[in-house]
């Protein structure tokens, strides 16, 4: 096997405090120290001048629906789409068929991953059986079979007793619990942000307090049990304030936000397009600004894709009857580049912290880095490439993206997983 030579790229590696133009070499899946003058090995040169060389991204929340196919996305198509967005690790949420709530199913899923995944797929197990919020799932046995986190996402355990005991029990196994904070009693008919626009459109409101009450619940339980709870898809400015305060008091709370919540406006549902229907809903501008500022000051740790594929016919219905959720693997980095780096002066190192390093830490995984000896999980971004997220460029089987046919500047052009090129932009 030859040595791959990434020539002249801007290498971003926050774990090693690196942001500089330099060459990278890798061989047999590992980044190596190499000198062409001292070696007779065959070298495959890839010119990446003016490109940005990044450690593989890590997604904290991906939904693939059905691992065996026949649905909008499966392990094979899903991981290919993730690679096209720069991800080399994703956390697969348990809302798949069959549900990841027992050891047998976990083994089955692991087997499918082994056969079909082109990147690393970490597993999240259910907190409660069938994610119904009634009986705890066998968390210890799930961990023995390889799950690295626990969640009922995209559902939310409503019962406080079950949730707090579940968190306490998970802490014994050092399993982080991931929750989308949502009080159903305040949002059961809510399909849009409870604001003037939903009122005008006649859509049921999903208010900020439906999220904030459960953010407070998570903070209180995390503090009382002294364990990690990760809040996924924060959407309200009030939640950002509460998490900021909790972190000041050293409560072990972490949080993420989706790329689309950083970028879209609540106005996007003005013509009832279900491809903009998300859980939680896209809120107002002051929320969006607070989310960006929360990322900037470290209140929010990460950006996730919340990739949730649906078949075209599932979304092509009346807005209130359509399922909530959008795809995000292939667009989140480009969105973050535009929204955070270009418009809000985030450094590339900061962006990689929130899209790779911090998610790894939250999941208790080794951080992705570009040091000698590390796995060659590398992705290359062309900041000038103009592209459209259209049928030709889309790798995901699902079409429920809010960015359908949108123009972007900046794209992942290559992704390597353990040295193997698994995505090339053509």
């Amino acid at each position: 096997m030859s040595v791959t030579y990434l020539k002249g790229g801007r290498v971003i590696d926050p774990v090693n405090n690196t942001d500089e133009i330099k060459d990278l070499y890798f061989e047999n899946g590992k980044i190596i120290k190499f000198s062409q003058e001292d070696s007779t090995k065959k070298v495959k040169e890839v010119n990446v001048e003016d490109k940005i060389v990044l450690p593989g991204l890590v997604d904290l929340r991906s939904h693939l629906k059905n691992i065996s196919g026949g649905q909008a996305e499966n392990i094979s198509t899903g991981t290919k789409a993730a690679a096209a967005g720069g991800y080399t690790t994703i956390l697969l949420m348990p809302d798949i068929y069959p549900r990841a709530d027992n050891p047998g199913t976990i083994q089955y899923i692991q087997d499918r991953i082994l056969k079909h995944a082109s990147i690393k797929v970490l597993l999240c197990g259910c907190l409660t059986k069938e994610a119904e919020g009634k009986t705890l799932a066998p968390l210890g046995s799930l961990k023995e079979n390889g799950v690295v986190a626990i969640s009922d996402s995209p559902s939310t355990t409503q019962n406080n007793q079950i949730f707090s005991k579940g968190v306490e029990y998970a802490s014994m196994f050092k399993l982080p619990v991931i929750e989308i904070p949502r009080d159903y009693s305040l949002s059961d008919k809510g399909t849009a942000h409870d604001g003037p626009l939903a009122l005008k459109l006649g859509l049921g409101g999903y208010p900020r307090i439906a999220e904030e009450l459960f953010v407070q619940r998570a903070i209180s339980i995390s503090k009382s049990v002294d364990t990690n709870i990760h809040l996924s898809s924060i959407s309200s400015y009030g939640s950002v304030e509460m998490i900021k305060e909790a972190k000041k008091r050293d409560v072990k709370i972490t949080a993420d936000v989706t790329g689309h919540h950083l970028n879209l406006s609540e106005r996007s549902i003005n013509d009832y397009n279900p491809n903009f229907k998300t859980t939680p809903p896209i809120r107002e501008e002051k929320d969006r600004i607070a989310l960006i500022n929360g990322l900037k000051d470290g209140t929010i740790d990460s950006v996730c894709t919340a990739h949730q594929p649906f078949q075209e016919h599932e979304k092509n219905v009346e807005f209130d009857l359509a399922p909530a959720g959008v795809t995000g693997f292939e667009t989140t980095l480009s969105i973050c580049f535009e929204t955070l780096v270009k418009k809000n002066s985030f450094s590339w190192s900061k962006l990689i912290n929130i899209m790779s390093t911090n998610p790894s830490t939250i999941l208790g995984q080794k951080k992705e880095q570009l040091a000698i000896g590390s796995n060659a999980n590398i992705t290359i971004f062309d900041p000038k490439l103009v592209w459209y997220y259209d049928k030709q460029n889309r790798k995901s089987e699902a079409t429920n993206s809010p960015y359908k046919n949108r123009k972007f500047i900046g794209k992942i052009i290559n992704t390597f997983f353990k040295g193997k090129e698994i995505y090339t932009f053509k």
Binding site: P196, L199, L201, G202, L203, Y272, F319
Partner: protein
């Protein structure tokens, strides 16, 4: 007066004042016909109008039927219970089938807000919104406007209070757009849980005190309390509503003399409106119903013949 170039009637919000006036003017012509004047009415001859009603309706469905028949159309009414939607067919597929069967227009009543807009992007035929969830009910607002205009001539500076369950009401929303576009001032009144302050962002005045809501009004439009759409947390009980917000004989004194009483129906007598007041001389409730036919004739006529009919 602007021309009518729309194929669909989805909501009042997007209409210009000129377009609203266009409908009302044509409705006036048809009203004369209903009253016995010789008026040409064969504009929909040979056309097939499908009333696709996915929610219960009496007045609106019948008025659309009569309106279409008065224009010599063939009318087919489909109710949810008798449609394939009960067999799991989606609205999209049902509508495409109806189009394939040769419909020239679809009148849609549906519980999902936005469903007429959704259909208008799928099928080629005109879609007339006959009520979509809590979003809009344009034909109702237009007939209310027609009724008030018939009484007052014009609505400039008039104050109209819409009282009751505004949150779940498509009639309130459509009427807000219609009345304010025609120069009237609209107040939404009722309990705070059903009349959220956020309605002010649309431009309406919001008030939670019945007396305050009534005393200035030139007309008051009462809405039915829609038990079927609310959870029990919006207000305690119907009797509590009647006690605090019901319009009864005693409170009639809070109204200006001659103030009109409107109601889109169905009226829950004795709950939001006292039975006697329902039948009083101030009440224009039955005029509203009768005007509904002429207004809907105008709507069907314009949507199926956009750009023409300029002679009417």
């Amino acid at each position: 007066m602007s021309k009518w170039n729309r194929k669909h009637l989805i909501g009042i919000e997007e209409l210009t004042t000129g377009e609203i006036k266009r409908i009302l003017k044509l409705a006036k012509v048809f009203k004369k016909g209903i009253d016995g004047d010789p008026v040409r009415t064969d504009y929909l001859k040979g056309k097939r109008i499908v009333n696709l009603f996915m929610e219960p309706s009496t007045r609106t469905r019948i008025a659309f039927e009569i309106a279409a028949k008065s224009l010599q159309a063939d009318v087919i009414s489909v109710a949810e219970q008798s449609s394939s939607l009960t067999k799991g067919e989606t609205l999209r597929d049902t509508a495409m089938n109806i189009q394939a069967l040769g419909a020239d227009a679809i009148v849609l009543r549906h519980s999902s807000p936005g469903s007429p807009l959704f259909l208008s992007r799928i099928v080629d035929v005109p879609i007339v919104n006959a009520g979509d969830g809590a979003h809009e009910h344009p034909s109702q607002a237009l007939l209310d406007l027609y009724t008030l205009q018939e009484r007052w001539g014009n609505l400039d500076g008039k104050k109209i209070t819409i009282l009751g369950d505004i949150l779940f009401s498509r009639v309130a929303r459509s009427n807000f757009w219609a009345l304010s576009k025609m120069g009237a001032q609209v107040t939404f009144a009722g309990p705070s849980t059903l009349v959220p302050k956020q309605f002010e962002s649309m431009g309406a005045r919001v008030c939670h005190d019945l007396k305050d809501g009534l005393e200035d009004a030139d007309a008051v439009m009462l809405l039915r309390i829609q038990h079927e759409r609310q959870s029990s947390s919006h207000f305690p009980s119907l009797s509590e509503y009647t006690n605090i917000f019901g319009l009864n004989k005693d409170r009639k004194g809070w109204l200006k003399e001659g103030a009109l009483i409107l109601h889109p129906g169905p009226v829950n007598r004795g709950i939001e409106l006292d039975s006697e007041l329902t039948d009083s001389s101030q009440s224009v409730i039955l005029e509203q119903v009768a005007n509904g036919i002429a207004v809907r004739m105008a709507i069907l006529c314009l949507c199926t013949n956009p750009g023409s009919l300029s002679n009417l």
